[in-house]
Symmetry: C2
Subunit: 402 residues, 2 copies
């Protein structure tokens, strides 16, 4: 069976490597050998071991009847969207690592694949190498999944882990992440939570079988998190993680992205550095968690190639993924219940915090910043925000995962 | 579609509950409604909501053409083995939570199922509710899996967590686990590691596609682990977990079950109480870990029912599970490399431990037990055992996971 790769960057290069290095195992699992016939890229790669496969002409791939499976590893929407659509329309399965493409056009591309008896698969678009989409759809089939909460962005998790364990400043740790190549020069997509937002939108859509528009998801990044927040969190026996979550309560559906204090009773607590972890709660299985490398050349390529195997086993037969175009209206996140770490200027004795927040627990003070902190009882976000606004000298808050 | 349940104990009762409570979701995923027609048990259940489904006659199930899927939740080999064989021979798929049955007769039952175009599925036999068998076989298909290491027994993990966090004695914590119903009156299967051994035998067999005989796996339980071991482990920043592992190095294959010191850089470190965690290392994806409830009524039933859904989607079509009768000869575990925590009588200054174990690191002493402890450098188990035997006053050792 012949395959092609669109984009010979990090992930595309990894896909070529995985298909080549593990070809025997992959042939056994796919039922036949899978060989890369073309790699599309605008650049030349003189001396590269796959140099002879490089083409600059998309039409060569689109028009080659031998090519049954194409790996889209270009990223971005243009021209990935047009290319993917064209390939699916010609009956070729597409396996992608491109979360932007999936979050923006998932339902349409799944529909086109079904119409042409081929597959649009995207295991690598969430959680890098971690099997999460297939387990969610094919393994946890006995459960009603009422919550998914995950550390979905490796860059910010690396930064938060550094801040937690080494007490580094946000600015320093961002600089280091950029030097190491974990963060982009423009780090917005990671640190503002946009990347995590697209990923939780994909998981939520697959779970609800309808479209959760990522633009509707309340998204807060980590740019406001400081070492002082970590110091208070540590006093509570917790650390801080950027969490993308979706939650169903009765008929109501919620999704949000924000930094949360997390305790060591939560399996996400120990997910450090560039690793990702995705906790899924089912009404029967309780909590399960999937952990692994959420990014990186070979782990991400491993997930793309697992989709290639799946596509190869199902030539002529579209997958059962249900993801309808119909938009879900998310319910107001102010109805959700959390506890809150609150920082207040001045001394606790001069503050009326216990009057405003009954049952709040004092955490500690920080004379350098002339402030103290407390943790509230569990309450709805709406109630909390009203009280927070009413509290004199309130500086900031971070949510605490229940 | 009609199903039956063999054995109305904890798991069987859970299967009936899951199929009933989540029937809408399950019907969507399976493609049609699944209804329990019979529950086989020798007992009566007056007043039970499924009382009318109880039968004492296995033949009624075996001879009912309407019944396409049977859940075997009796446990043990007799009569589960004969019943399962008989059902598969009549073309009914069997979904089981019975690790003994799978470890002892897996390849034969898979073969019989294939001969009769039905399925023998056993997701619940390892890791309770955690999806592990299907992810291993259907998701991590791009990788050569070279290591699986898991906390596979919830009872011993509960006990070890108590000893670690609360400093409880082994005897006390065993008594408590028995009172809570986590441990049997005869706790041998759990505390001697036999249960973990069967489970790693199943995972190793599926990974190697041949039979790893559980009787060949070196198995050490937790009965010799004491609070003093935990105290030394804590000084190294580690805790102690009972690990079932299989490992492939080149052409050589190893498997063993033993307690290990584990550091917080290992994702299994945070797997506490009755939870299980299974870390899988692939040559491309690196390490992924699956976490969840390794036992319990509803989580285990969730896994059985996910197999029922799989069986329902594949009526008349046998699964692709490859598990050959051919026995694998495991290689000598003394070739494996670990570090070791060693406890020695007397004072470190009177001991020649640094001569025998070059590069060993002193951990601490325990005057109450008139002893001290050190950790060795990494070395093969064979080398270690020879040196340990040569060290004067050596008392005991615990392996350290690398």
């Amino acid at each position: 069976m012949k395959a092609a790769i669109l984009g010979y960057g990090t992930v595309g290069g990894g896909v070529a490597d995985v298909l080549y290095e593990n070809k025997e195992q992959i042939a056994v699992r796919a039922g036949e050998a899978i060989e890369v016939k073309y790699i599309l890229d605008i650049r030349e790669f003189p001396g590269d071991r796959f140099e002879s496969l490089i083409t600059h002409d998309f039409e060569q791939i689109a028009n080659d009847e031998e090519v049954k499976i194409v790996c889209e590893t270009m990223g971005g929407l243009k021209p990935a969207y047009d290319f993917t659509k064209r390939l699916l329309e010609s009956g070729k399965s597409v396996c992608t690592s491109n979360k932007e493409l999936v979050a923006a056009h998932g339902p349409e591309l799944i529909r086109i694949a079904k119409e042409h008896n081929c597959n649009f698969l995207f295991e690598a678009s969430v959680g890098g190498g971690i099997p999460i989409i297939r387990p969610l759809l094919s393994c946890l089939t006995a459960d009603r999944i009422d919550e998914i909460a995950g550390i979905l962005n490796g860059t910010t998790n690396y930064m938060l882990t550094k801040m937690d364990k080494e007490g580094c400043d946000y600015a320093d740790v961002l600089k280091e992440a950029q030097e190491k190549g974990y963060a982009e020069r423009n780090p917005e997509a990671d640190v503002e939570g946009y990347d995590a937002c697209r990923k939780i939108a994909i998981l939520a859509s697959l779970n609800y079988k309808k479209t959760v528009n990522y633009e509707q998801i309340y998204t807060e990044g980590i740019t406001a998190i400081s070492t002082a927040d970590f110091a208070y969190a540590a006093k509570c026996g917790k650390n801080i993680k950027l969490i993308g979550m979706c939650k169903e309560i009765g008929e109501k559906k919620y999704a949000m992205v924000a930094p949360f204090l997390i305790g060591d009773d939560n399996p996400l607590y120990g997910v450090n550095d560039v690793f990702n972890g995705i906790a899924v709660h089912g009404n029967m299985v309780d909590k399960v968690m999937f952990y692994g490398r959420g990014a990186g050349k070979l782990p991400t390529a491993s997930a793309v190639v697992s989709d290639v195997v799946e596509a190869a086993k199902n030539i002529g037969k579209a997958s059962e993924i249900v993801w309808d175009d119909e938009k879900i209206t998310l319910d107001d996140k102010n109805e959700l219940t959390f506890a809150y770490l609150v920082r207040v200027s001045g001394f606790e004795k001069d503050s009326d915090y216990k009057t405003v927040f009954e049952g709040a627990k004092y955490v500690g003070n920080n004379t350098a910043e002339d402030e103290f902190a407390f943790v509230t009882e569990a309450m709805t976000e709406g109630d909390f925000l009203a009280k927070f606004a009413a509290l004199a000298n309130a500086k900031k808050f971070v949510r605490v995962m229940m």
